[in-house]
Symmetry: C2
Subunit: 384 residues, 2 copies
């Protein structure tokens, strides 16, 4: 039986997610917005019976068994951890920091019977599901290089907000790069050991953001990941990712995997392949046309991935009579909070690399850093 | 009046160059090959009256006024410097090291009345000539990012030789990357301050190269250049270059320049552009079809660039009655030996970066390194 859903967020993703949920038969009972007004307007538009700006009102809502959290990254951890504590299943977007993710991982481990997945939707896109299958079957032989590029218009909101602030989780690397980092670990079945990157904010001010305000989040990012093998060896595969959001009027989303005997390329939502010695590129999976809701602000691969994730959620919950129970099978491919922690760790290593100019190791946090650490350092400095 | 030409080399470029020269009215009087047999065969095939394996026979040939040197990089310096010393005009491909180039620069400065250009032919390709013009006119606004990718089949020769050896000037970075480095400095009018790169040899052995022999030259290379601004500042533009020669059956040659108000992309020999706020990509320069000689081993952008360079040489020499004199105008855009030294310096900095993992500064050699330097170091070590 399908669970009742509570949605956090009034942004472009929430706006697309609600119709997708409804189309699959989920009932959306409650909507949370940062202000009463935002919540009221979107709830009215999407026909959601209850709206609020107080998070507990959604989390404690008796008809809500599944919470979908699509809010600014800096607020995600608090809601996600609380929802699990109250006994609700959670799907959420990325959080702001690795420490946040670590706390979410701890909560998820504490409630293993609850669903807790990252809403990193590219894994669910049929083109990438097929790509992974072909990689496992050896279509390209041994993977050598993954080459990803995403080009598009600015990611900034119309008004000044978290999308402009690097520390709030804004920027191409955090917003789009994280989905790519997750995707590449899913496709190749391995993780980055060392990363190198370069971030830039070419457009620091525009018509809407000016005066003393400046954009600090990246609009161009470029990073490399050495994956597989050991951290010290030079073997394994090289992943290169180029993100450029200074290209209004275009959207390029290309993921290429080159191996010893062939290659696979996903362009947008279509998958192409070519074997060495073959006659040329073949279309392996076409786009069968999108019939879901329109979403100007959301690129098609993310939109279709979101749609596939909702379908997987439906299958997962339909398997049980009790509306809070779910089956692992249909959502087994979804990124866990552990995967989210890995992704955020890579994001932060790339940012460190952009500052230091050096290759940075990817070391997953294994215990929470001492919250008094900075204080201790400050005291230490005073003593000397 | 057109000068008589002597050609060094029997490889794929020489094989294409001779018909191009003849088509423009140049007389090719002499051909040099590493062995008598190679020289004999190609001279017969291309109808060149004189062939030899002794370089002086071409350099001292009384009908030869222009020497075109397309031989393995490690041999280029010796022939080029000698040719200038004898008073011949020189067009040559890249040399093996920055020290070689420095010696060539010294010779070229000593004989300023002689033509001395690098045969880096991408500058002459009409798409790039148009691209540069549009960049100067401000089509893209302020340049932010250059993004170049070249994908193709293996660059290795059929048999073991210099193409397999990194130290002999083999590999994607040295062979193809150097043409891209030169092109980007031509297009943007600025030079790299700092570079970061990663080289890999994914295919170290194949059906022809096996046993104790291993390929040491890169078949995958990936580098970034920070250009313009000063070496210490983080401003200026970012160039990213991806070269992958593990992709048999395909050839991708894409040069994209993204700026604050638009972008330009050269795909193969065609040029496209898009202005921010415009209706979409427009074709700015199409391919009018290639009617010159076929060359399986040479990608079309290089082939057409070579053809345009030969046309420019014709114009340059036609401007004068005396067959050794030439006009600067038509070949003013050609890369000088100084440009060649810059390119080789960048290539070597990228190689250093691939070893060190760090950003490396591009510092052009201003005096010849002491040839006894290594000896001194060895003596020093013995003393301690």
């Amino acid at each position: 039986m399908l669970p009742g859903v509570g949605v956090f967020g009034t942004g472009s993703t929430a706006r697309v997610l609600v119709p997708l949920l409804k189309a699959e038969g989920f009932e959306v009972h409650a909507l949370w917005g940062r202000s009463e007004e935002e919540a009221f307007c979107l709830a009215k538009e999407l026909g959601i019976p209850f709206h609020t700006s107080r998070s507990d009102d959604v989390l404690l809502h008796q008809d809500v068994d599944l919470v979908c959290i699509y809010i600014p990254p800096s607020m995600t951890r608090q809601i996600a951890v609380k929802a699990l504590g109250i006994g609700k299943n959670v799907v959420c977007e990325k959080a702001a920091t690795a420490v946040d993710l670590f706390k979410m991982v701890t909560a998820a481990r504490y409630y293993p019977q609850l669903l807790s997945i990252m809403g990193n939707t590219l894994r669910f896109l049929p083109a990438f599901v097929a790509m992974r299958q072909l990689l496992v079957e050896g279509y390209v032989g041994e993977v050598q290089v993954c080459d990803v590029r995403v080009y598009g218009p600015s990611l900034l909101d119309q008004s000044y907000g978290w999308t402009c602030e690097e520390l709030m989780g804004g920027g191409g690397l955090h917003t789009v790069g994280s989905a790519i980092i997750d995707l590449l670990s899913y496709l190749t079945g391995s993780r980055a050991n060392r990363v190198h990157g370069l971030l830039r904010t070419f457009v620091q001010q525009n018509n809407l953001i000016r005066g003393i305000r400046r954009v600090t989040s990246d609009d161009f990012c470029f990073f490399q990941m050495l994956m597989g093998g050991t951290a010290s060896s030079s073997g394994g595969m090289c992943c290169t990712v180029t993100l450029n959001f200074n290209m209004p009027g275009s959207f390029v989303h290309e993921v290429m995997v080159v191996g010893s005997t062939g290659r696979l390329v996903a362009r947008g939502t279509e998958l192409y392949g070519q074997r060495n010695g073959g006659k040329g590129e073949e279309l392996l999976l076409g786009d069968d046309g999108w019939v879901g809701p329109e979403a100007k602000e959301m690129p098609l691969p993310h939109l279709r991935g979101l749609s596939s994730m909702v379908k997987a959620l439906k299958e997962s919950f339909q398997a049980h009579e009790e509306r809070r129970l779910w089956a692992r099978g249909p959502v087994a491919m979804a990124p866990t909070f552990e995967d989210g922690l890995y992704v955020q760790t890579v994001v932060e290593a790339v940012k460190r690399s952009s500052c230091s100019g050096e290759w940075e190791c990817v070391e997953i946090m294994s215990q929470e850093p001492d919250p008094n650490h900075n204080l201790c350092e400050a005291l230490q400095r005073n003593k000397n």
